[in-house]
Amino acid sequence: MKQKENPIITFFASVSLALFVLFILAITSIIGTVIPQNETPDKYLQYYGEKWSTVFHALNITDMYHSWWFLSLLTLLSVNLIVCTLKRLPHVWQTVMQDNLKTTAERLHKMSPSRVFVFNGPAAEAAAAARVLLSRTSTRIKEKSTATATMLFIQKGAWTRFGVYAVHASILLIFIGAIIGTLYGFKAFVMLPAGSTTSHVYEMGSNRLIPLGFDLRCDQFTLTLYDTGAPKEFRSELTVLNDKSELLKKSIVVNDPLSFQGLTFYQSSYEAKQGQLFAQIKNTKTGAATGLPVKPRTEVSWPDAGVRFGVINFEETKNGAASGYRFKIWFTDGTGTPSEFWMDFGATAKIERPATTYDFTLTQHYATGLQVAKDPGVWWVYVGCGLMLAGIMVAFFLSHRRIWILVTAEGDRTEVLVCGGANKNKLGFENQFNALLARFANHAQFTPQG
């Protein structure tokens, strides 16, 4: 019966290997949590001295989770998972699909738990009575009769034997997703001042320039603080453009990014431009609007609207304890005489012009820091995660339970064997099995033996 197995396959399919790899992964993973990762060589030298930093660099410990040896361990784990699954799955498939009535009386007698009853009456009556008692556990009874014996069989959750393989497959799916992300995706960054447009971003680490294939404009960045001074919200108003036509507008905050053509833009950081203001102007009649950085005493123009303006003076204001600034604005749209007025920082002024009225807001000029990611593998990872949770639930909390009843007649004596088994949660199965035995014992015609 026993086939001779290829020792290499046996090795790669073994659980001992899985245990060993998990143990080594757990131990080595600790290193990178104690030794900071991806710092500059100077920092390692300064912190650990020359000898140790040489060792760290030689063993790639400065970026250990992407080192050849750590990735080899993950590869070994994957090979282990694949070989183990391929080796065992055919057996499991057979167990799930097999005809359980094709077993022998000899094998059933060896099962544990099992119990023999003597039936006071003929075999046909015993089978009928057993069927009634068994149907209270499950009504889906399979049956086979020969001249001397009747076999009854019920089972539950045969498919749950696949649960553990679903978990293994889910880990591979996650790895595949991670590989796709590494090969075909990137992580990048761009610092985009309000009012500016960019057509490219910079890859993290390498600083390589990556063209977007479209333009991205930051219309405004706003920083909101709690009374305590802690940050409450970072918000960037973004517009996606193609040749100056607006394709998509979205206001992003942390945890709510902008996605366009497989790229996702995340609110990551910000930078206040020292000594620079940001003016947002809106023509209330036409709806045309823009945002422009302003330096005091420098003329700024909005050519599309024929608007020119500037901050011609500013002064500190004191209102009790609160202090701030106010600014004198000079503004013209080419009609009539230019407007001149004072306004507070952060306020919105209404500028009445001969043909229309403008809303004019003056705030701090910020640049928004956007993290940019392209990761076509992420859905593989998510499907893997979902499959993992489903697989764990099946593998842990559901079991394959089987119960056989064999009625045999030898002369006048009718014997009934009740036996069964479960692949998991044996205590739970025994409770169910004992309840079935109790029903037999309580039946007037069944007498337990031994």
Binding site: L22, K187, E233, V253, M388, L389
Partner: protein
């Protein structure tokens, strides 16, 4: 009364319950057991009320959010999860002696949360990164998992004590302190089931954390120390389950692994925040 008073009272009720459960274990006075269960149930009510009140208080302050946003709040929920899990086990298995090994964990969690000086207990507004629907799912999943692992560790300790006394006492039929504990096979089975339960929730916690990280930063996994330690813990329990399912490990080995596993959980939870952070800031005096 405010939530902090109520949670302070919870800590003392859990202390009393712990003392009574241990007393019951040592003196085997039935009356102690009934009182211990009653106190644990009251602790569950006051802890629940405390959590709800803290939630309401945050809304009154105008910064409403679920009380799951910092070390203190997570410890309260950790204790809450242990109490719920324990009471379920007590009612299911009709054995109060397990309480002596489990409820002290809930008390220690609350006591550490209430008296530690490393972190603040104030209700603070959420910083932008924490303003996410994943906050509740992630924290709840992780801490149900951690609570299950704490219960498993308590059961592991109980197993080892009983196994040792049986080895020493031989076939003594009565009189042993540990005889009234559930039999070894039952403790072993319960430890295993609790680890299974914890592993499911730990996996869910890691996954929700990864999805959250991806929606906040565009990276579902970046090997930061917290993530790495959570996966180390996952490896440990994953290996434990494989050893049991396929190699038939049980008894003392699983009991020890339940203890080692909890140490890894504690490091993931506490160590990463308070021990490793020092190593990750180069400058200054270090």
């Amino acid at each position: 009364m405010d939530s902090s008073q109520l949670l302070g009272i919870t800590t003392f009720i859990l202390l009393a319950a712990s003392v009574l459960y241990i007393g019951l274990f040592i003196f085997r006075a039935h009356a102690l057991g009934v009182t211990a269960t009653a106190l644990t149930f009251i602790a569950l009510l006051t802890d629940t009320a405390g959590i709800i009140m803290r939630w309401v208080e945050s809304y009154r302050m105008g910064i409403g959010h679920a009380p799951l946003s910092n070390m203190y709040e997570s410890l309260i929920f950790f204790a809450w999860s242990i109490i719920v899990l324990y009471l379920f086990i007590e009612f299911r298995f009709k054995n109060r002696l397990i309480g002596a090994f489990v409820i002290p964990f809930a008390f220690l969690g609350m006591a550490y949360g209430s008296y530690a000086t490393e972190f603040s207990r104030e209700i603070t507004p959420l910083i932008p990164a924490l303003q996410s629907n994943w906050l509740i799912a992630h924290v709840v999943a992780c801490f149900i998992g951690y609570a299950a692992f704490a219960v498993a560790c308590g059961l592991g300790i109980m197993y080892l004590l009983k196994a040792r006394s049986q080895e020493k006492g031989g076939n003594r039929t009565s009189g042993g302190l540990l005889d009234s504990l559930p039999d070894l096979r039952q403790i072993d089975d319960l430890t295993h089931k609790t680890i299974l339960f914890g592993f499911l929730w730990l996996s869910a916690g890691i996954i929700t954390g990864a999805i959250w990280a991806n929606s906040a930063w565009g990276t579902y996994w970046s090997w930061d120390p917290k993530e790495t330690w959570s996966i180390i813990t996952w490896f440990i329990y994953g290996a434990t389950l494989h050893a049991r399912f396929t190699k038939g490990w049980g008894g003392k080995r699983i009991a020890w692994l339940a203890i080692v596993g909890l140490l890894s959980v504690i490091f993931t939870y506490y160590g990463v925040n308070f021990l490793l952070s020092g190593l990750h800031s180069y400058g200054g005096g270090k």
